[in-house]
C-alpha cells in the first residue's frame, strides 16, 4: 500500500520542526497534511526498509543520517551488503550513530542484486541474528551493495524500499527510469548541494520523477545540509505507524 | 608378510608405567628404550625396508588408566611397490583409558613411486584420556612422483566421533596435488592433540600451517603442507615439544 493511501493510525500531535532543508529545492511531500511526528505504535516485528541505489549515491550516508534521526526514538538494526571495510565501520563509529553490535554485514559473492532480490536467505539470516542478539527491534535498515539502476529488493526481504540516486550523475537519472527509480516506495534524490556545481537542473529531475513514478513520493535531499535526513525519517515514521497497524504486537510474531 | 604386534601399558602404582605386554614379529618389532619420567618409550624397529605391497601389519596399543606411552619409529617407513594389484597395509588400533596418555610420534610415511599403501588408524579415547597423534606423508622419494597412499585416521573421544580423515595421494586420488588439496606440496601432515586440561583454543593460520580446534572433544588438530619433510616437521614440532615435556 502506498503512503498516500494510508489512513494514519495515530492522531496528529504537535511535533518538533522537521530538520532544516533548502526551500529553494523543489520536492514533493511524502505525506501532505499529516504531522510528521505522531507517537509511534509498536509493531510485532521490525519494519524492514531496503535502501538501494547506485554506488556512491549516499546510501551509507543516509543510513547514518537515519541512525542520527532515530537515536533515542527507535530500536534500530542495520544490515549492509557492501564489502565490509573498517573504513565503513569507523565511519559509523566516528559518526557515533549506531553501536557496532547492531550492524551485520552480508557477503554477496559479487552478486549484490542476487542477495537482495533472488536469493535473500543470507539477508534474512542477518535480520534474524540482529533480532536475536540485540532485539526486539522497531526498524531494520537493509543497505544494498552499490549496483546499477535495475536492482530492487524482494518483498520477501523488506517491507518498504528507498532508492537513492544523486544529482552528481547529472539530471538525466530519473528520466532513464529502471525499476528502482520507477517503483521504489520512496525515491531520494541526494546531494542537491552539488546541483549547481554539476549543472543538474532539479526542476527537470522533479518533473521526470513525477512522470516515472506517478503518485509515489520523491524527496530531494542534501545530507550535508540535513545530517538527520528529516524528510526521509518522517516518511519512515509514517510507514512505521502503518506497519504497526498491520503487524500489531498481539499478532503471531514472525522473524524480526 | 603378515605381522601382528601388541603393546599393553599399565600404571605401576608408583606414578610410573609398566609394559604388561610387549610383543611383535618381523617386520613389526617393538623395543622398550630406557627413559625417565612417567611415560615408557617404545620404538617400532624394522620398518625401514617396507612396507612392501602384500605386507599386512597390525599393531594394537592399550594404555590403562594413569599409564603413559610414547611410541616412535626408528626411521621413516617407505611404502614400496611389490606384487601388482596388491596393497600394503599398516593398521593401528589404540585404546586409551581415563587418565592414560598415548603419544604416537612415528617418522614419516614415504609413498614411493608405484606403491599402493593403506595406513589405517583407529583410536578410542575414554573421557579424560590424552593423545598426541602425528601423521606425516611424503609424496615420493626425492623428485619422484608418488604411488598411491591413503592415510585414514578415525578417533573417538568418550564414545563420540572426534576426527575422521582420509588423506589420499597419488594417481588414484583425483586432484590430490592440485590447489584444493595439497597445492603441489610434497609433504603434508597433521598433529592431533587431545588433552582435557588444555583450555579451548581458537583457530589460527600461519602460511600453510593451521591450528584447528575440533568439535567433538577437547582437541586441536594442527595441519600443514610443506615443501619438504624437514619443514613439515618444524611446523608440527613447534607444537608438540611443550606438550610432551609438560607432563611426562
Amino acid at each position: 500500500m502506498r503512503p498516500d493511501t494510508v489512513v494514519p493510525t495515530a492522531a496528529p500531535t504537535a511535533g518538533r520542526n522537521p530538520a532544516p532543508h533548502d526551500e529553494t529545492v523543489p520536492h514533493t511531500h511524502p505525506e501532505p497534511g499529516v504531522d510528521p511526528h505522531p507517537p509511534l505504535a509498536q509493531a510485532g516485528r521490525a519494519l524492514r526498509v531496503g535502501i538501494g541505489g547506485p554506488v556512491g549515491s549516499g546510501k551509507t550516508a543516509l543510513v547514518a543520517a537515519l541512525c542520527r534521526a532515530f537515536a533515542g526514538e527507535l530500536r534500530l538494526g542495520v544490515v549492509t551488503n557492501d564489502i565490509y571495510t573498517t573504513e565503513d565501520a569507523d565511519f559509523l563509529k566516528r559518526a557515533g550513530v549506531l553501536d557496532p553490535s547492531r550492524i551485520r554485514a552480508v557477503e554477496t559473492g559479487c552478486c549484490p542484486h542476487t542477495a537482495i532480490r533472488d536469493d535473500i536467505g543470507a539477508n534474512l539470516d542477518a535480520v534474524d541474528e540482529l533480532a536475536e542478539a540485540v532485539g526486539p527491534l522497531d526498524l531494520v535498515l537493509v543497505e544494498s551493495g552499490g549496483d546499477n539502476l535495475t536492482a530492487t529488493f524482494s518483498r520477501g526481504l523488506v517491507d518498504r524500499q528507498i532508492f537513492v540516486v544523486d544529482v552528481a550523475g547529472g539530471d538525466k537519472v530519473p528520466r532513464k527510469g529502471g525499476p528502482g527509480v520507477t517503483s521504489a516506495d520512496l525515491l531520494v534524490i541526494n546531494k542537491t548541494d552539488l546541483a549547481p556545481m554539476v549543472g543538474a537542473d532539479l526542476a527537470v529531475m522533479d518533473r521526470d520523477a513525477r512522470a516515472r513514478r506517478g503518485d509515489l513520493p520523491t524527496v530531494f535531499l542534501s545530507i550535508v545540509g540535513d545530517p538527520a535526513a528529516g524528510r526521509v525519517a518522517d516518511w519512515i515514521r509514517h510507514e512505521l505507524a502503518h506497519h504497526a497497524a498491520v503487524h500489531p504486537i498481539a499478532a503471531p510474531v514472525g522473524p524480526a | 608378510m603378515r605381522a601382528y604386534a601388541r603393546l599393553v601399558a599399565r600404571a605401576d602404582g608408583r606414578g610410573g608405567t609398566v609394559l604388561a605386554e610387549l610383543r611383535g614379529e618381523t617386520p613389526l618389532l617393538l623395543r622398550q628404550t630406557p627413559g625417565s619420567g612417567r611415560a615408557v618409550t617404545v620404538y617400532v624397529v624394522g620398518g625401514a625396508a617396507g612396507p612392501l605391497a602384500g605386507d599386512d601389519l597390525r599393531l594394537e596399543i592399550d594404555v590403562g588408566p594413569g599409564a603413559a606411552v610414547r611410541v616412535h619409529t626408528v626411521a621413516a617407513s617407505v611404502a614400496l611397490p611389490g606384487r601388482p594389484d596388491v596393497v600394503s597395509r599398516m593398521a593401528v588400533r589404540a585404546v586409551v583409558h581415563d587418565g592414560g596418555a598415548l603419544h604416537w610420534l612415528p617418522e614419516q610415511l614415504v609413498a614411493a613411486a608405484g606403491c599402493a599403501h593403506l595406513a589405517e588408524s583407529r583410536v578410542e579415547l575414554a573421557a579424560g584420556a590424552r593423545l598426541t597423534w602425528r601423521d606425516e606423508v611424503i609424496c615420493g622419494r626425492y623428485g619422484e612422483a608418488p604411488g598411491g597412499a591413503v592415510v585414514h585416521t578415525r578417533v573417538d573421544y568418550d564414545g563420540r566421533p572426534l576426527l575422521r580423515q582420509s588423506l589420499a595421494v597419488g594417481p588414484g586420488a583425483p586432484g590430490w596435488a592440485g590447489p584444493a588439496v595439497l597445492g603441489g606440496a610434497p609433504a603434508t601432515g597433521s598433529l592431533l592433540v587431545v588433552d582435557p586440561s588444555i583450555p579451548h583454543e581458537t583457530a589460527a593460520v600461519e602460511g600453510t600451517l593451521a591450528r584447528l580446534p575440533l568439535a567433538g572433544g577437547p582437541a586441536t588438530l594442527w595441519t600443514a603442507t610443506a615443501a619438504d619433510a624437514h619443514t613439515l616437521r618444524d611446523h608440527l614440532d613447534v607444537e608438540v615439544e611443550p606438550l610432551l615435556t609438560k607432563v611426562e
Binding site: 564489502i83 565490509y84 571495510t85 573498517t86 552480508v106 557477503e107 554477496t108 559473492g109 559479487c110 552478486c111 542476487t114 542477495a115 533472488d118 536469493d119 535473500i120 536467505g121 543470507a122 534474512l124 539470516d125 | 585414514h152 578415525r154 578417533v155 563420540r160 566421533p161 572426534l162 576426527l163 575422521r164 580423515q165 582420509s166 588423506l167 589420499a168 586420488a173 583425483p174 586432484g175 590430490w176 596435488a177 592440485g178 590447489p179 584444493a180 588439496v181 595439497l182 597445492g183 603434508t188 597433521s190 583457530a203 589460527a204 593460520v205 600453510t208 600451517l209 593451521a210 584447528l212 580446534p213 575440533l214 568439535a215 567433538g216 588438530l221 595441519t223 600443514a224 603442507t225
Partner: protein, 230 residues
C-alpha cells in the same frame, strides 16, 4: 523419469539457498595465487569433487536414507549421529560454521517450499544442521531418489566454485562450462560412489581430507574484506 524436473530445480544454482555467496574455497585459493586460469581451476575442481564433494554427497545420501528408510523412531538419532560424524570430518571451524550456515539457508527455503515436510528430525545443533543433511531431507521431500540426492550434492560442489571462478577471475564462461562438461562423468561417478557409501554405518562414510581446504578456509575467515562468505 517423473522426478527429473524436480531434480533440475534442486540442482539449479538459482535455487534460493545462498549458493551465489559461496565460492567453495575458491576465493582463498585465488588469493593465494594457486588458481589463476582454466588449468588450475580444473585441478581445483577435481580435488574438491574428490574430497568435499564426495563427503558432502555421501552425507546427503545418508540423510536421505535415514528419513526414507529408517523408522521414524530412529530418524532423529541417526541424523544427530550423522551431524556429529560430519563435524569430525570438518576439522576447520570456519568450514563447520559455513556448512551450518548453508544448512540454515537451505532449511529456510525447504520450510517455505515444502511446508508439509518434516524437517523437525534434524538435530537442533547450535548454528543449525550441516548443509548436506538438510539437502538430504529436502531432496527426500521433493521425492528424489538417493542417487539423485547424491548427484545434486556433488554437482553443487563443483558448479558453485566454477561460477565463483567466472566472477573472480573473469574466465571465459564458455570455457568454464566446457570444463564442467569434461568433469561431468567424474561428478556422476562421485555421486554414485556416495550413494553406495550411504549404506555403510555413519562412522564408515567417506572422510576424504583436503589440508589446503582447511588452511585456506581459516585464512579466509580472518579477511577484513572478502566478496564471498566462504
Amino acid at each position: 523419469m517423473a522426478t527429473s524436473s524436480l531434480l533440475l530445480l534442486l540442482a539449479d544454482g538459482r535455487f534460493p539457498a545462498g549458493a551465489h555467496a559461496h565460492s567453495g574455497g575458491l576465493e582463498a585459493a585465488v588469493a593465494a595465487g594457486r588458481v589463476t586460469d582454466l588449468v588450475t581451476l580444473e585441478a581445483f575442481l577435481a580435488g574438491r569433487l574428490a574430497t568435499a564433494g564426495l563427503v558432502g554427497a555421501a552425507f546427503a545420501a545418508a540423510a536421505h536414507r535415514a528419513v526414507t528408510s529408517a523408522g521414524s523412531a530412529v530418524r532423529g538419532s541417526t541424523l544427530a549421529l550423522l551431524d556429529a560424524e560430519l563435524d569430525a570430518r570438518t576439522a576447520a571451524p570456519a568450514l563447520r560454521t559455513v556448512s551450518r550456515r548453508q544448512g540454515r539457508a537451505l532449511l529456510r527455503a525447504g520450510r517455505a517450499i515444502w511446508p508439509e515436510a518434516s524437517f523437525d528430525d534434524l538435530p537442533s545443533t547450535p548454528g543449525g544442521a550441516h548443509q548436506p543433511l538438510v539437502l538430504g531431507l529436502l531432496c527426500a521431500a521433493a521425492g528424489l531418489s538417493r542417487a539423485e540426492t547424491a548427484a545434486v550434492a556433488a554437482h553443487g560442489t563443483v558448479t558453485g566454485a566454477a561460477s565463483a571462478a567466472v566472477r573472480l577471475l573473469g574466465l571465459d564462461p564458455y570455457q568454464v562450462q566446457a570444463l564442467l562438461v569434461g568433469l561431468a562423468s567424474r561428478c556422476d561417478g562421485t555421486a554414485a560412489e556416495a550413494a553406495r557409501a550411504a549404506d555403510e554405518p555413519p562412522e564408515r562414510l567417506p572422510a576424504a581430507a583436503a589440508p589446503l581446504a582447511d588452511i585456506h578456509a581459516e585464512a579466509h575467515a580472518t579477511w577484513e574484506v572478502r566478496l564471498f562468505a566462504s
